[in-house]
């Protein structure tokens, strides 16, 4: 029931973001979206994820977006092209998703494959094999530690990438392609 209320809240925020033209308001709303999402995740027992979503979605993303707004502009222009094609595309994908999730097990059902295979192994063995009671940490850093190494590499890529793109001297490069932009 709480889930339902929070989801309705999220839907309302999202509708606001779709309709708004002021980027500043959009950024603030998207921060709010992340907070509600974080609450929802915690309700579903995902405390680590909720904490991260709050820190990243509401914190880091908002700071990044605001600093980008500072360097660009805060109003969006009017949309010139028709919205029919995007709408049709989105409805098609939505139909596929509703079709795919129709038969999925009920929320919280303990007899689903997710709860019978692989998952329980971590819960049963984490303390014995790694002495770590927070199973999310032991899966993250050990059982699937290689994914986390990849994740660290993704952050590293983004960090160096942002520096490469924005550290050069600021200069208007010309359209012809002969110019030496940086």
């Amino acid at each position: 029931m709480i889930n339902f209320i929070l989801l309705i809240f999220l839907a309302a925020v999202t509708l606001g973001i779709v309709g708004l033209r002021n980027l500043f308001a959009i950024v603030v709303l998207s921060g709010g979206y992340s907070f509600v999402m974080a609450t929802l995740l915690i309700v579903m027992d995902a405390v680590d994820v909720g904490m991260t979503e709050a820190a990243v979605g509401a914190g880091v993303s908002t700071v990044l977006l605001l600093s980008a707004l500072h360097l660009t502009s805060t109003e969006t222009g009017p949309s010139k092209h028709s919205n029919l094609l995007p709408l049709a595309l989105v409805i098609l994908i939505g139909a596929a998703l509703i079709y795919g999730t129709w038969d999925l097990p009920m929320y919280g059902d303990p007899e689903t494959p997710v709860h019978r295979h692989v998952g329980p192994y971590y819960l049963e063995n984490s303390v014995r094999q790694t002495t770590i009671p927070n199973v999310v940490t032991s899966v993250l850093a050990s059982y699937r530690g290689y994914d986390t190494l990849g994740e660290t590499a993704v952050i590293f890529t983004a960090g160096i990438g942002v520096m490469m793109l924005l550290r050069g001297r600021r200069k208007k490069s010309d359209a012809g392609g002969a110019g030496q932009g940086d």
Binding site: V18, G77, P110, V114, L166
Partner: protein, 124 residues
């Protein structure tokens, strides 16, 4: 009474899925239909964030608790989806940072961050 609750729960289960799907679609719609590059990136992160629910909600178990092993609890929610989504969140913010850096450069090079105007300038 329990029957009624069960029924309510069952229909809510579907409705919850549909709202999740609505969120995913709304994010995607912003990406596809809007012209402002920063707004598109916001839409992209809503699109990504909503997908997390598809992972986390099947991981929840009725009567279960947070997957931190402690005395007095026997049923825990599945930790694996949590780990996957932690990774996905990080990937999402990394993409956002890089996307914003490119948008800042586009603003400097073109003087606008409206996709329509950019294509009008360079591709006709």
């Amino acid at each position: 009474m329990t029957d009624l609750l069960n029924q309510l729960n069952e229909s809510l289960g579907h409705v919850n899925h549909w709202i999740t799907i609505f969120l995913i679609l709304a994010g995607l719609y912003i990406v596809v239909a809007k012209s402002n590059m920063i707004k598109k990136l916001v839409g992209l992160s809503i699109f990504q964030t909503s997908v997390y629910l598809l992972y986390i909600s099947p991981g929840k178990i009725v009567g279960g608790t947070v997957p931190i092993i402690s005395e007095g609890y026997a049923v825990y929610s599945n930790p694996l989806p949590h780990v996957l989504i932690l990774t996905a969140i990080v990937v999402g913010v990394a993409t956002l940072a890089l996307g914003l850096a490119i948008v800042v450069r586009i603003k400097e090079a073109y003087g606008t961050i409206e996709e329509d105007n950019i294509y009008a300038q360079d591709w006709d």
